[in-house]
Symmetry: C2
Subunit: 303 residues, 2 copies
């Protein structure tokens, strides 16, 4: 079993969807990732929170065995994001981004985090992602996510990070934006030319496309009748993905990477069924395995 390091945001979100809304609900990539990945393997979180960070939110992570010694607490308010989804819930409209304590954040890894074998750089400034890589010793798998904002505003820093990645996990739209490709299949190949040996293109309700060792793999998402809130689905996916690899201490086997991505899409299918981390916070591996069995029926083409 490997140990996982994640660097990302810890946030309070205000989210409105056609189903309802929440204000100041727990969010941020590190929370979604941590709750997901910790079902599989030990997780160590690096991030920053403000004075408003609730003790109950810290306990939620530690109750899952997540190490939060890497979460700095500083004066000021925790990162706040407000967004709204309409129609088919495929894209959030950002209403407000208050960086708050995140504005001057520089990740500092506690000593005992530095030899984590599985490193996930969530969707933060590529300059900060690089700072993390300076502090880890010899990880087996370095994976990262990114988004349209960094592709537009920090492309050269992002390209430097890409050269140091084993795996890029990225949304389909952003994969096309990054590469100029007209479809995900072509985008995946072009991303490999930028550095990552493995590319996981996250397709939301359509699952994922994986490109590893020159081969494509694809699987659909678990069918969900009512999507309540898609926030955090991508980070939850990354948590399931890294969690599976760390649990089994698999680094590069193509089939293992495919199963890891399958667990990613399965975990994400829980997150979208509730606001915030509502569906993740009490989720057990038994429930995941039950859905896994249903999923096998859904995608099997063997009689």
């Amino acid at each position: 079993m490997g140990r996982i390091l994640v660097v990302g945001s810890l946030a309070y979100d205000s989210v409105k969807t056609p189903t309802g809304k929440v204000d100041g609900a727990l969010g941020g990539s590190a929370n979604y990732f941590g709750l997901s990945a910790s079902l599989f393997a030990p997780v160590n979180v690096v991030g920053v929170v403000g004075e408003d960070y609730k003790e109950s939110d810290a306990k939620l992570l530690t109750s899952r065995g997540v190490d939060i010694q890497g979460i700095e607490r500083v004066p000021g308010k925790t990162f706040h994001w407000a967004g709204e989804y309409s129609g088919d819930l495929n894209e959030a409209k950002t209403l407000k981004t208050e960086l708050n304590v995140f504005e001057h954040f520089h990740p500092k890894l506690p000593k005992q985090y530095q030899d984590c074998e599985y490193v996930f750089l969530a969707n933060i400034d590529p300059v900060l992602q690089a700072e993390v890589l300076e502090q880890v010793k010899s990880p087996k798998v370095v994976a990262a996510d990114t988004m349209n904002f960094w592709i537009q505003s920090k492309l050269s820093d992002l390209k430097k990070i890409l050269q140091r990645l084993d795996v890029l996990l990225i949304n389909e739209g952003e994969a096309k934006q990054l590469t100029g490709a007209s479809n995900a299949v072509s985008a995946a190949e072009k991303i490999v030319d930028l550095g990552p040996k493995t590319v996981v293109i996250k397709r939301g309700e359509y699952g994922f496309l994986l490109y590893v060792q020159g081969q494509y793999y694809a699987l659909p998402a678990f069918p969900i009748k009512q999507v309540v809130d898609p926030t955090g689905a991508g980070d939850t996916f990354a948590g399931g993905f890294m969690g599976y690899l760390a649990k089994n201490d698999f680094a590069a086997d193509a089939f293992a990477v495919k199963k890891a991505a399958m667990y990613g899409t399965l975990l994400a299918s829980f997150t979208v069924q509730d606001f915030s981390v509502g569906a993740l916070k009490d989720l057990t591996m038994d429930q995941v395995e039950k859905r896994h069995l249903q999923y096998r029926e859904i995608v099997s083409i063997n009689a």
Copy 2:
């Protein structure tokens, strides 16, 4: 082995995509369907063409064993569609629709067509779809497609047809439009309430979602790096779907329906690789089975 009846358009298309363009190229739902389905089982076509219909295009069908006695030849010009795709090729912009001989078309089934077991009503006026059903005796499977135009302009006629279908094959966007659902999973259930026992939601590059006997199944499309022209992909899908069912004379087994939809998405993956019927016209079952084997690797989650 069952016999297939298809009623649909025979057309000459002018299509422009980012890759290039064709003028007056063979198109129409019945052509795509016929070339696809005839790889599996005998196909009988009902439709109409004008004086400009080329003998070589008739021969293309008959060389595949397609019975074209149901294709009427009348004075005037064959149906003509002109469209353009841009960007991600997901949606065609219609530049011109000239109904020509199709305008006054009423399907007349040759006597020997009337006992076909597998009936596909391609995307034509639901009033004409109903006229076909009046002329068939006791089909095992009646399937149909429809589109936004009929949903908007002939909803009550469309709803009457839905009540008489075993299977509706429909694009994801149109499934949502028909039902008001916000996602495909929810749309599929609502369509069952309108009549069809089985719903195949076609998702283009994402494959399909199938709802049959109260269960969902989903599979991705075969990954294609360069999509040249998506025209006809949906009709090709329907041809593979009906072809597989007819070949094996399966009517209602859920697993067979899933494999049928899998062949649908596989066949469609050929069509998009060339303009018009370029990739279908010389396609052999050997090539399909070769891609089927690759596909099994792509979607398998068994080591």
